[in-house]
Amino acid sequence: MSLQERYMLKVEGLTVSFDGFKAVDDLSFYVEPNECRVIIGPNGAGKTTVLDLICGRTRATDGSVKFKDHELLKMREDQIVHAGVGRKFQTPSVYEDLTVFENLEISYPSGYSVFGALAFVRSPNVQHRIAEIAETIFLEDLLDEKAAFLSHGQKQWLEIGMLLIQDPELLMLDEPVAGMSVAERKKTAELLNRIIQDRSVIVIEHDMGFVADIATRVNVLHQGKMLSEGSMAHVQADPKVIEVYLGH
């Protein structure tokens, strides 16, 4: 297996500074296909910023982010999405004025151009796919409901569904279970384990139980740098991690 194929995502020397403050500092890590990578780290470590950099929301000061053979740092947000990278935000962002169905439909990966969107028709294929996704995210009975009426957890799922429908090869989730109830957390872990099958996922989370449920590998970020990397057990035992993050 060539190096090219071995890694889905290569982050090298990634740096960003805000008015002199280095939020991410010469960071490198690699993500393999079909892997669920969890990034943990203290509040303010730069986790969200890393995702922002990868998906083009924030412009990097330096470094490189290679996704397959695309250099993401040079691309616009929508181009990054087309390349196969999906991103979920920390607070659920769904279109409250639209129904669950329409939310998913908007994310359906065709009709990206202006005229494509005008010509887009709700074909049986599209409907089928939407129904399928809705089932995956436990919302099959709520397709005609306005998103505004969903509970917090359901919104989180919907947003994940909006990403899934695009079938991205790399999925990035920022604190997907924050604010969820215990039961919902379980269901979400199940969901993630299911969708990891055919793609790579990067997750940021503070809920260690949840992390243990899903992670194949864990990165610990601290002050913009990699503090520790390895399996969940390895990381949890690392005294540095306990010191800055887990607590005694």
Binding site: F18, D19, R57, T58
Partner: protein, 308 residues
């Protein structure tokens, strides 16, 4: 365009125009400060800003009449009284407007644009009905007219200096109020999150009302000062609205310093260009440059960089 003039003339031209630009700058600052509070700090798009200014101008007019009739000896000083009264009158009207209209619209900032546009129509008609459709002439105390020669080419109008001093004074007061006092902190907190501001103990209703009133009061003072250089009639306020908004937006809506910097650059650009081009073309060019710069810096000259 420079070739028509000799070197020494050009020097004098730039000096004179620079000074004319300073006066224009002060005018812009005065116009914009009230709006910088109301729009920049409170987020209310007040299209009736010009009408609040004109109220100040009318107050000045009536004060001058009163002084001329009842205390002619003190006529030279009426202007100071007039400015205070203008502040009170426009400010009170502002309180009233906030209470009756604006406070219901804080959640819908763009709608304030429409409502205040309606308000401006009403105020114009009110002035017309009350004070007549014609312009009124405000007599300026004689010590404020005339000019001081600097060189034989350059003369400095006294009312220009007066406007400048006023602009500096009011800017400082507004700056201190908005950025160096607890009051300003509260106003900004409300602007960012009205509900939460209440939940940390800020009396949002009262703060809003007073802030709006002060913004309108400042507009009134500006209107009062403008009787020295402009006309006072029911519709005169409309002349100012575009320039005023542009100055505030160009500066970066949340920043008083930005407003001042923007007033300075726009006025200097316009003033210098006016000399070499026709007035109309100078205006067009200035506007285009401002729009061009705004494309590069969409949030204005002085803007905060905040993550989304």
């Amino acid at each position: 365009m420079f070739s028509d003039y000799s070197m020494s003339e050009l020097g004098a031209i730039f000096a004179m125009q620079g000074f004319a630009g300073l006066i224009l700058f002060s005018v812009f600052v005065l116009m914009a400060l009230g709006l910088a509070i109301i729009f920049g700090q409170m987020g209310v798009i007040n299209m009736a800003h010009g009408e609040f200014m004109i109220l100040g101008a009318y107050v000045t007019y009536f004060t001058s009449i009163f002084f001329a009739d009842y205390m002619p000896a003190l006529f030279g000083t009426y202007f100071f009284v007039a400015m205070i009264l203008a502040f009170i009158a426009s400010g009170t009207l502002g309180l009233l407007v906030e209470w009756s209209i604006i406070r219901h619209l804080y959640k819908r900032p763009l709608d304030t644009l429409l409502a205040t546009w309606g308000l401006s129509l009403i105020l114009q008609q009110l002035y017309r009905t009350a004070f007549g459709a014609r312009e009124v002439g405000v007599t300026i105390p004689s010590w404020m007219m005339g000019s001081m020669p600097v060189t034989d080419m350059i003369e400095v109008p006294i009312n220009g200096i007066f406007v400048m001093v006023l602009a500096v004074g009011i800017s400082m007061a507004v700056y201190i109020m908005m950025f160096r006092s607890n009051w300003g902190k509260q106003v900004r907190a409300i602007n960012q999150n009205r509900v939460m501001a209440g939940a940390v103990g800020i009396n949002t209703e009262w703060t809003d009302r007073l802030t709006f009133g002060i913004g309108c009061g400042v507009a009134g003072v500006a209107g009062s000062a403008f009787t020295m250089i402009g006309s006072t009639g029911p519709t005169a306020g409309q002349l100012y609205i575009v320039d005023t908004f542009l100055v505030v937006v160009f500066g970066g809506a949340g920043s008083i310093l930005g407003t001042i910097a923007s007033a300075f650059s726009i006025s200097q650009a316009q003033s210098i260009m006016e000399f070499f081009l026709s007035g109309s073309m100078a205006k067009v060019l200035t506007l285009l440059v401002v729009v061009g710069i705004l494309m590069v810096r969409p949030q204005g000259l002085f803007s905060l960089k905040l993550r989304k």
